[in-house]
Symmetry: C2
């Protein structure tokens, strides 16, 4: 056939076709596909186009390719979920609620011992950090308690910034290009100030997200966000696998 009838592009149509065969089980794990050149002929495209499709399916984890041996349907192993975490203001507004932020503490000081450890700051580094603590509101209800330190070396402009109304997360997001970060997610019992600021009874379960962001190996910010456990849940959407990048 010379050309596809109603598909957007050639490789899209082939991609869909191959995925269908794999997820339907018609091509089970371990199945050997025809060789690249043969597939290209079968689908009536050039080898380059076929290669594009097969490369993408390999990146996505559907296929395994080995020189001289051929192309095989992969055995599913690791599952990678993509956890989308927008800034909290967007999250609250997406719920159709008014958003607000109230700053409770602000200080410029050297990082504490535990902060050094968690942010990965070398003991030799003499710099100061901007410490912030505040509450995000959804409507009139506390939505999230945020405790954060910001590297004044990575973000010197933060020193002059007034975060009494604007949450630091979005401010940073718009200015600092981050390259990597790390999440730790755990459940804790709310105690003391955390419980009080979130309007919880002591002992209620909280979802705690600890995020460390860095740019090119240097830490930018370390933030701990506590959500009332009963009122919040993180959503993660699965994809077959992350690409190698």
């Amino acid at each position: 056939m010379p050309r596809a009838p109603r598909d957007r592009t050639q490789h899209e149509r082939i991609l869909r076709d191959l995925k269908d065969r794999i997820v339907s089980g018609a091509w089970p794990p371990g199945f050997q596909l025809p060789f690249e050149l043969k597939l290209a002929e079968d689908y009536g495209v050039s080898r380059m186009t076929m290669n594009k499709v097969l490369s993408q399916l390999t990146r996505e984890g559907f296929l395994v390719r080995r020189r001289k041996l051929g192309t095989f349907v992969a055995t599913p192993q690791a599952q990678s979920a993509v956890l989308e975490i927008t800034d909290i203001e967007s999250e609250v507004r997406a719920l159709g609620l008014d958003y607000g932020f109230a700053l409770h503490e602000r200080a410029i000081r050297p990082p504490s011992e535990s902060e050094r450890r968690e942010a990965g700051i070398a003991a030799a580094e003499p710099g100061e950090v901007l410490f912030l603590r505040g509450v995000h509101f959804a409507g009139r209800a506390p939505f999230c308690l945020e405790t954060r330190i910001i590297s004044l070396e990575a973000a010197p402009d933060a020193r002059e910034q007034d975060f009494s109304r604007e949450a630091p997360g979005r401010w940073l997001l718009e200015r600092i290009p981050w390259t990597s970060a790390e999440h730790r997610i755990r459940a804790v019992n709310a105690v003391g100030a955390t419980a009080k600021l979130l309007g919880l009874d002591p002992g209620e379960a909280c979802l705690e997200v600890l995020r460390r962001t860095e740019i090119a190996g240097q830490w930018v910010t370390l933030v701990r966000q506590s959500y009332p456990g009963s009122k919040h849940q993180l959503l993660a959407q699965f994809t077959p696998r992350a690409d190698a990048g």
Copy 2:
């Protein structure tokens, strides 16, 4: 220059170079790149190779491309973390601990109302599900309480399977190719059977992961995993953005 000296491939070398410029801030958000053809000439490659690089950076969220206008450095917005979730046995063994699984309940029955709702089973569907509840052990300590239902339509072999020793997660993972799934992560206070099976005092915080897996639109399994909050945390590694797939 006719050819690169010591880089694996042309597009790898260009990819690295462009990423460096973006994350270093030399090309800030909003910066307009030279046109594709110009870049290809500058780097001494064909337009196809250059396009491959620019397409990948666009998929990864570093760039935004618009016909007629040009190519621009993207403003970072949504952060997507890749949450790697291996099966629990691997997780436990990675900690250097012995792994064990103990099945507490097993039943074949129609899904309950709430299970229907959470798994997305149409009321019309008459099928039965395999219900399982068991505890994963790390050494002698309870590591995770798992409550699961499996679609006997999607996985008919599960009916004959004895899960008294082997956890159903890995069994499924090796047999059923999944196409998508969804996570809900929240914190709850342990009560009743959950607390007892995990060896917790009532009221202690638990991390609860609810996962729904499907293949080609049909649900396969719905599982609720409860971890003692104080002893477990999820780790998520950041990447700049997920590709569109």
